[in-house]
Point group: none
Chain length 194, copies 4
């Protein structure tokens, strides 16, 4: 039991170290030895928990993605009105990107890279289902534009990644006002205009 906990701790430490190092240096400049050092284990120990570097990164991705979506949908339930539900989820996502920026940056870096297996990517997408369901409902009720989920995601959710990364780079500050404006834009882009 105690020993199981220790194992879990080590695995978590490895994943945490991977996130931090990949965020700072990129996948290509993140040697296993550094990950090991940062997680306070021997390099060989990594291979008790992960098959190889690729697997470590994929599993890290899946784990972070799960954390992200869990957070996003934690307080949401399917009976909420569409607009309220969307606003809730959007704000949770925005909040996650701001407070868990290590995790969010890691996901952003994974997004357009061949660093992640296609299967792991699919695995990550599956968790978004509640949002897709909400959109379907919204379309049926004539509240959400009758357009592809990809378009809805591209315009209402994805911009948050760009904003978060810009903020991380110090290019601008995402304060309360701007968050509100961002939400307005997100909602404008997908709601049906009268």
């Amino acid at each position: 039991m105690a020993t199981l906990q220790k194992s879990i701790d080590k695995r978590n430490a490895l994943i945490k170290a991977t996130i931090e190092l990949v965020n700072n240096n990129g996948f290509h400049a993140t040697p296993m030895s550094k990950i090991a050092k940062m997680a306070n284990v021997s390099p060989a120990t990594i291979y008790l928990y992960f098959e190889n570097k690729q697997d470590l990164v994929n599993q890290t991705y899946i784990e972070v993605k799960a954390k992200y979506t869990n957070y996003a949908f934690e307080t949401y339930n399917e009976n909420m009105p569409v607009e309220q539900g969307f606003e809730l989820i959007w704000k949770r996502i925005a909040h996650f990107k701001l407070i868990e920026c290590e995790n969010a940056m890691f996901l952003a870096q994974c997004d357009n890279t061949p660093m992640i297996d296609e299967t792991s990517r699919q695995e990550g997408i599956r968790h978004l289902q509640p949002l897709l369901d909400l959109w379907r409902r919204g379309r049926n009720e004539g509240i959400i534009k009758p357009i592809s989920d990809f378009l809805l995601y591209a315009y209402s959710i994805n911009p948050l990644s760009f904003l978060m990364m810009s903020e991380k780079r110090g290019a601008f500050k995402l304060d309360k006002t701007q968050l509100k404006e961002a939400y307005e834009s997100a909602w404008s882009s997908i709601k049906v205009c009268e």
Copy 2:
């Protein structure tokens, strides 16, 4: 002149090879030797044109970014009405992402990587000036929302990257109809609503 031409050819071949290999394999997994082979030159030759790998990647980034913005603004002029100007630029950008997808994918992959220098990134951003100017004008005229350029960019331009990458992954098809819908969403998100 002939000799200079030859040089430019080699430099271009190297940049082309870099784009293709990075697109297919990622920064990690793109060794200089492969770039050299694909460009039909010796590894040593790369160092006649670029200081090192970092420099090769950064210059490739800058070059592609320039191509991208040149294309975007090629038919635009500052006297156009705001909405018409925006639509023009937006469509040129969308078009670029679709027909020059090798280049567009490379830029997308560069977006969130520590692989690109901050200075090269700034250099890339500078070229966007005409769009920023257009937005300033739009805000002054009460046509564009009075919000940060980052927000405008995040909601009206950046989604195109996500859509292009999704298409490349075969997840969905960006046809004429959807491009129109995309434009609607982009414009909705930044225009001032009456």
Copy 3:
């Protein structure tokens, strides 16, 4: 007793696993972990029975060598006439190489390797004494050529290893006829010709 029995079982399992793995993969490419797995014990358990890998291999060698010579001399007794005695021993050895080919292959592989200690090798040779005694007797009686034991061994016994290995490789088949021919050659090479 029960507990001691169990120990011997484990030791035997380890030795068996060592033989099999070394036969199939060679000394290099036979990690302790694989040996442990095949013997159904933990890697750490090996070190309760053997000092280290070197020791495991050497003890395996000695054990197999003992088995080999025990088999060779089991039905022999020192009062037999020389030729009859030699024929008996030769045939037992040949038989061993054919039916216990796992063991025989292992010994063959040990023959020319620096993997085996010189002391272990000596230990292995000691068991051949009855054959050497027989040869001495044969020389005294003018039946066996008055030449070094090494020569006698090289020509009358050692060829069996080559034949067995060739058969294992599928290069040729050692059937009854050929075994008889082999014996003829062996005896021709050491007997005194009139």
Copy 4:
């Protein structure tokens, strides 16, 4: 040209180093780095000449085997009488094993090991053809026993390996007299007895 020679020199130095180190320590305890050091090149240089460690060992084997058979048949021609031809070849082989003992030991160590590819082994065997042809002739003329080449080889040639290794181990000395005795035994074992 000079540069080609240098390349050949390096390749040879690598092969020489491989032989020496494998002889002394075995394949499993011969790291590439040591081979490189002994050959006075960088570890990376090995990979310009050989695909990997396996390839290095296989090519070394083939090279040494070729040297061995070249030496064996150098002074032989197919018109010699059978017995004279065999004696010539046998003595060349014996001589090779004595003066080129580094090479001979290496071959001996390769003999019963999965260290060498089966294809490389076949390649090595092909070179023995002149001896096999001689034996065929001998059988036709009723001089050589009508038995398999494997048996002839096992009894007339292979024992030399055992004798050479025994001498290297210091167990006994193979002087002129004993060499003569060895030849007698070899010839006795394959010639047709009247």
